[in-house]
């Protein structure tokens, strides 16, 4: 059951290129939020532009606080990054289905700002390997440092970690120790991961993004093409079994 609350910002921190850590006091949400779920975050302004809330995945939820990792990609996220400690933000959550905890090993594949929900999963699950890729070292986010799980970090330009794409070693990781794969990131990365998983016949879950209005499943605005008809990202997802998705119709 989601709640809609005004929540106080307790910390805002610029942690990487255009990337911010937001911590909020929200006990009602923190106790319920599961990895892969998200919140609709409002601006708390008396003005109507921007009008819609923005979906953000939980990066953490503990001790009555929730944490988001926010990457500025447009004006809405810029405005969210510009808030100050003590401000009140409207938060509706937790929303969406979240990841299902696997039986055995979890192989998490995070591309760019796809990291937060998977880092949250890594903090809650056992027997996890986290693959995380960014363009360059300065974009790398702090979350993996806080995790004790096995990690494989890559940058495209090799400025930190392994040089290459996050998916380059996925096959190797699966072969080394099979498990369930969970991915979040840009669509081309998801498609690559899904291809690899299909080749090796391992189960793969993906967390998808779509523009949202209600965030709760009421407006039918955030649909993506699934094998048998449209699915709502906000309510039926954001996490889908890769086999459910009509990847061709999805576009990039």
């Amino acid at each position: 059951m989601p709640v809609d609350i005004l929540s106080e910002v307790t910390c805002v921190q610029n942690i990487a290129d255009g990337t911010f850590r937001l911590v909020l006091d929200a006990p009602e949400i923190a106790e319920k939020a599961r990895p892969g779920q998200f919140a609709m975050v409002g601006f708390g302004s008396p003005f109507y532009d921007p009008f819609l809330r923005r979906p953000l995945a939980f990066a953490k939820a503990e001790w009555g606080r929730i944490e988001f990792t926010l990457r500025v990609v447009g004006w809405g996220t810029a405005l969210l990054a510009d808030i100050s400690t003590g401000d009140q933000m409207p938060i509706l959550g937790p929303l969406g289905n979240g990841f299902e905890k696997p039986e055995g090993r979890a192989i998490l594949v995070a591309g760019g700002i796809g990291l937060p929900p998977l880092a949250f999963a890594a903090s809650r699950w056992k027997d996890v390997v986290l693959l995380y890729g960014e363009k360059t070292a300065s974009a790398l986010c702090h979350l993996p440092h806080e995790l004790e799980c096995e990690k494989d970090i890559a940058t495209e330009d090799g400025s930190d970690g392994r040089k290459g794409l996050v998916t380059d070693n996925l096959e190797e990781h699966i072969k080394k120790k099979p498990g369930t794969v969970y991915c979040c990131g840009p669509v081309p990365m998801l498609k690559e991961a899904v291809k690899i998983c299909r080749g090796l016949n391992v189960r793969c879950y993906v967390s998808l993004e779509a523009r949202m209005a209600c965030g709760v499943g009421a407006c039918m605005g955030c649909v993506i093409p699934a094998i048998n008809g449209y699915k709502r990202v906000c309510k039926d997802g954001p996490v889908f079994d890769a086999d459910e998705i009509d990847w061709e119709a999805l576009g990039d």
Binding site: M1, F51, P90, L92, R211, A218, C222
Partner: protein
Amino acid sequence: MIDLSIRIGSLELKNPVLTASGCFGVGREYSEIYDISSLGGIVTKTITLRPREGNLPPRIWETPAGMLNSIGLANPGVKSFIETEIPFLRDIECVRIVSVAGETIGEFVELVGEIAPLEEVDAIEINISCPNVEQGGLTFGTDPVVITELVGKLRPVTKKPLWVKLTPNVTNIVATGKAAVDAGADALCAINTLLGMAIDTDTRKPRLGNVTGGLSGPAILPVALVKVYELYREFPEIPIIGIGGIGSPTEAIAHMLAGASAVQVGSGLFSYPRLPLDIIESFEEYCDEQGFSSVREITGSLIIPEI
């Protein structure tokens, strides 16, 4: 104590605040967030005869102080709706309105025929104003002759109140409203969305999969108010349900002042899911401030200074 109750024809509502079609589902999702029985009423997503997948995504685009949608009446069809959604409405203690849209007059008649016997439904909203479908929608809503015929054919099918939802995409909303009233509509709902579009200048493509969509939200408030005002001046005896641009209680009050007997909150729900509850509270305060003892006194109490 302020009397918040209103009447729309034969229907009694405990307060004048409803949710607008397409923005609230049947209330299932929002009922997880708060008690939707405290609303004056709810209007379901528009239901069609056959299931509709809806339009190609993206279906949503944010615009200055508003949004475009091109959902395209995605719904499971009336049969499945009656099976899976109507039971949910049974225990909702507010007025329950089902919105319907057909591609032909025959389909409308069939739809109303299916809905009419259901005791879980208190009124039927006739959606002749959806800009996002090829058949029906605006082709019905813009022609007074067609409206008269349509409503005239529906009137004998049910004793339930028939509300007709009008489009603002017309030269003269008083003409389309009159057509509905003359043919026996119990209330006029104004407005549905304005036709609009948005363009991604980088890719040079439309932002919506369906190219065009319906504009809603605070951006359209001034247009909605003038339509309600025009209808109220012409039909002071016909209840008008004000819809469009309500993003805070002030705009709901403005709709009532312009002549609405009740309001529906649409995309404002997305910014503030609890907005309808805030509006109900504010109506009470407002009546207090203005010295009104009933919320009904707000309706049409706009003061036009003499020039």
